[in-house]
Assembly symmetry: C2
Homo-oligomer: 133 residues x 2
DNA sequence: TCTAAGGCTTCCAGTCACTGGAAGGTCAAG
DNA sequence: CTTGACCTTCCAGTGACTGGAAGCCTTAGA
């Protein structure tokens, strides 16, 4: 397979595939003409990485998962640990975002949204206090 | 005030303050020795930006809010619109993260987490399917 | 008066995970 | 033989900082 076909089948852009080669995720062979040739195993790897990325694992986490994936002797405990750590991080982010949303929603509700310049949102950004109606 | 004091009072690092000057948020005057001198208005602006950033507004949104903040004739509707748009984006992110978390939690629950190599998490990353017990 | 510490300056480079674009080689169809 | 799609490499940019180097300025203490 050439890079274009792999890109289509894995759903990962060619640019990104080359980048993944740069950072050592893949080592495709080369044709006489310099083109990369991908085997099925490379396609699988790419798909694997794509799924992990879409679950929010960062590149280093993907590298760790990939190493575990390729290590036939790893225990599932290692993988579970990475995943659990990751769930914790996701939950922290969710909590942060919910706090943001609630604060903003609160401010929006306090804001008349008309042509007068009086604006609780800006007031809050300016002095950190929310005025109640 | 010198930059160090402003940094302490606004909670924004000196590096970041200089960066904010670079991108045109501030225009502090300079001393004979080249040091930046900050007035109270600059401190207020920085605090304003800091709060907006902590609410997840990006730099361009901050720029817009700052412009509205400094425009005495703006209607609160303009500000409300930016904030509402932002709440939408936050809610999208929350939904994404919840989906990620649920998928991962599901996989973690299916994973024995022992020393055997059989691992539903890797299996899923590899083939996109979750095996039920 | 010298020195040392700390604060200030600028500029350059790195972060993360790509993404865009330029310049040019290769290949298959018409 | 040309056209267009595909491939290659390399360089630069994204967002929002952050780190570090090199060097000037100020202040306190010996």
């Amino acid at each position: 397979m050439n890079i274009g076909e792999v890109a289509e089948r894995s759903g990962i852009p060619t640019k990104t595939i080359r980048y993944y080669e740069d950072i050592g995720f893949l080592h495709p062979k080369r044709n006489e003409n310099g083109y990369r040739i991908f085997e099925d195993t490379e396609l699988h790897k790419l798909t694997f990485i794509g799924r992990a990325r879409s679950l929010g694992f960062n590149i280093e986490e993907c590298r760790a998962l990939l190493a575990l994936y390729e290590d036939k002797d790893r225990g599932s405990a290692d993988v579970k640990k990475i995943a659990q750590q990751h769930v914790k991080e996701i939950e922290d982010k969710i909590a942060d975002l919910i706090a943001m949303r609630d604060t903003l929603t609160h401010l929006i509700n306090a804001c008349a949204g008309d042509h007068r310049p009086d604006c609780p949102i800006l007031d809050n950004l300016s002095d950190g206090k929310t005025k109640e109606a």
